[in-house]
C-alpha cells in the first residue's frame, strides 16, 4: 500500500469543510421542511375526511417508493424542462429530499401517535379540551417523544441521501470529493475522508438526539 497523503487532504481542508457545510445545510433544511410537511400529511392521514386520508396515503406510497436518484433526475432534468421551470440544483435537491423525508416522517408521526394509549385522549376530552388542544397539548408532545429515535434516524438518512444530490452538480461533500480525486488523483485519500466525515456527522447527530431524548424524558 502506498503512503496515505494526509498533507494533500489537509491542504484541501477548507474546501472539504465548505462542502461538508453544504451537505449539512441541504439535509438540515430538508429535515425541517420535512418535519413540517410530514406533520401535515400525517394529520391528513388521520383525519375523519376520507378524501384527505386517500390523498395522504397516495402521497406516502408514491414518495416512499420512488428511488431518490430517480426522483432527483426526473425533477431536475425532466419536470423543469417540460414545464420550463427555473430551479437551482440545490433547490431541486432540497425539494426532493423534503418530499421524500416528509413521506417517511408522516409514518413516523403516526407510529408515535398510535403508541399513545387511547385513554390519554379520553382523559383530555373528558376535561373539555377541544380536538386541537387534545392534539397540541396531550397527543403531539407524547408522540414526538416516542418517535424521537426514528426522527433521528431519518435525519441521519437525509445526510446520507444528500450525497445523491451530487448528480445534479451540487458541490456538496460527495461531489467535491470526486472533483478533488480527479484533480489530485488520490481516490483512497479523499473518498476515505468523505466516508469518515459522513460517519462522524451520523455519530454526532446520534449523540445530539440522545441528549434531546434524555432532556425530555419524563
Amino acid at each position: 500500500m502506498v503512503e496515505f497523503q494526509l498533507d494533500t487532504v489537509v491542504a484541501s481542508g477548507p474546501r472539504i469543510m465548505a462542502a461538508l457545510g453544504l451537505t449539512i445545510y441541504i439535509s438540515t433544511v430538508s429535515m425541517l421542511f420535512g418535519l413540517a410537511v410530514g406533520l401535515v400529511v400525517s394529520l391528513l392521514r388521520g383525519s375523519g375526511f376520507q378524501p384527505f386520508r386517500l390523498l395522504a396515503v397516495t402521497y406516502i406510497s408514491i414518495f416512499r417508493g420512488l428511488p431518490l436518484i430517480a426522483f432527483l433526475i426526473w425533477l431536475y432534468f425532466g419536470v423543469t424542462v417540460a414545464f420550463n421551470i427555473q430551479l437551482s440544483p440545490i433547490t431541486a435537491g432540497i425539494v426532493v429530499l423534503t418530499i421524500q423525508s416528509s413521506a417517511y416522517l408522516a409514518e413516523i408521526y403516526r407510529s408515535g401517535m398510535e403508541a399513545i394509549p387511547h385513554t390519554q385522549r379520553q382523559a383530555a376530552v373528558a376535561l373539555g379540551l377541544s380536538p386541537v388542544r387534545v392534539f397540541t397539548d396531550v397527543q403531539f408532545p407524547q408522540a414526538v417523544r416516542i418517535a424521537l429515535p426514528a426522527i433521528g434516524n431519518e435525519y441521519i438518512g437525509l445526510v446520507k441521501g444528500s450525497a445523491l444530490v451530487s448528480v445534479l452538480g451540487v458541490a456538496e461533500l460527495m461531489r467535491t470529493s470526486q472533483q478533488l480525486v480527479q484533480f489530485y488523483q488520490l481516490p483512497f485519500e479523499f473518498f476515505t475522508t468523505a466516508a469518515v466525515l459522513y460517519v462522524a456527522v451520523g455519530v454526532g447527530l446520534g449523540r445530539l438526539f440522545r441528549i434531546v431524548e434524555k432532556r425530555i424524558r419524563y
Binding site: Q120, A126, L127, G128, S130, P131, R133
Partner: protein, 255 residues
C-alpha cells in the same frame, strides 16, 4: 323537579352484539352521593361514560341540569370529536378513571393546570395558583413538580381527583378509582371521596369498596346485566336486600 342534577332515562348502549345497558333509569339530586355496585363487566363503567357522553348512547335521555345531551351528541357524529356543547357539558362533569390517566409528560401541577388554562382560558398564574390549592387539598403539596411516574398509585389518583376538581364541576363521576391500587393505598383515595361527599359534592361512584358505599353514600344502586336491579339506602340494601341477585352478590362479597 328542583334539585335534580342528572336524569337518565331508558338508557341503552350496545357494543356490537353485546347489549351493555338495557333501559337504565337514574335520577341524581344535588348534593347526593350515589354508589353504584355490582358484578364487573355489567355496564357500570359504561353508564358513567354515557353520562359525560364519552360513549354515545344508542337510545334514551341523559338530562344534565335540564338539557338532554343525547340528541346533541348524535347530531355531531362521534362523541370524541369536536362538539362545543359537549365540551361545555364536560367542564361541568368531572370524571376520575380507574387507571388515573394522568398525562405522563406533565408534572402533577401541570396536569391540573391544563384544563383551566386551555378550556376556561385562565391565565397561567391563576391556573397554577388554583391547581396548587387543589393539590394541597388532596395532600400533595410537596409533590406538585413530580411527574406521574414518580408518584405512587394513590398519589397519582389524588392528582387525578385534583385535576377534575379544579374545574369546579357540578357533578363528579368516579369509575372504580381504587380498583387499580395496592391495598395499602386505597384508604388515602377513599378519604378524598369521603371528604367530597361530606362537602356536599354531587357524585356518582362506581365502586367495589363496600365500606365506602355503605358508610358514605346516600343511596346505593345495584347494577347487573345493564340495568338497576335494586336500589335503596345503604343500610336497607345491605341488611335487607330484596332481589335474589342482590342477595347473592352481597353474600358472595361477605364469604
Amino acid at each position: 323537579m328542583s334539585g335534580v342534577v342528572l336524569e337518565v332515562n331508558n338508557l341503552h348502549k350496545s357494543f356490537g352484539s353485546l347489549h351493555v345497558l338495557r333501559g337504565l333509569n337514574l335520577t341524581v339530586r344535588r348534593g347526593e352521593t350515589v354508589a353504584v355496585i355490582g358484578p364487573s363487566g355489567k355496564g357500570k363503567s359504561t353508564l358513567l361514560r354515557c353520562i359525560n357522553l364519552l360513549e354515545q348512547p344508542d337510545e334514551g335521555q341523559v338530562i344534565f341540569e335540564g338539557t338532554d345531551y343525547v340528541p346533541i351528541a348524535r347530531r355531531r357524529g362521534l362523541p370524541l370529536r369536536g362538539n362545543p356543547q359537549l365540551r361545555q357539558l364536560r367542564t361541568h362533569i368531572g370524571i376520575v378513571f380507574q387507571q388515573f390517566n394522568l398525562f405522563p409528560h406533565k408534572t402533577a401541577v401541570e396536569n391540573v393546570m391544563l384544563a383551566p388554562m386551555r378550556v376556561l382560558g385562565m391565565s397561567k398564574n391563576e391556573a397554577r395558583e388554583r391547581s396548587l390549592e387543589q393539590l394541597e387539598h388532596v395532600g400533595l403539596k410537596d409533590k406538585v413538580d413530580n411527574h406521574p411516574q414518580t408518584l405512587s398509585g394513590g398519589q397519582q389518583q389524588r392528582v387525578a381527583i385534583a385535576r377534575a376538581l379544579v374545574m369546579e364541576p357540578r357533578l363528579m363521576l368516579f369509575d372504580e378509582i381504587t380498583a387499580a391500587l395496592d391495598p395499602e393505598l386505597v384508604g388515602e383515595v377513599v378519604e378524598e371521596m369521603q371528604r367530597l361527599a361530606e362537602g356536599g359534592m354531587t357524585m356518582v361512584v362506581v365502586t367495589h369498596h363496600m365500606s365506602f358505599a355503605r358508610h358514605s353514600s346516600d343511596r346505593i344502586l345495584f347494577v347487573d346485566d345493564g340495568d338497576i336491579v335494586e336500589e335503596g339506602e345503604p343500610d336497607t340494601l345491605f341488611n335487607n336486600p330484596k332481589e335474589p341477585r342482590t342477595q347473592e352478590f352481597l353474600a358472595h362479597l361477605l364469604s
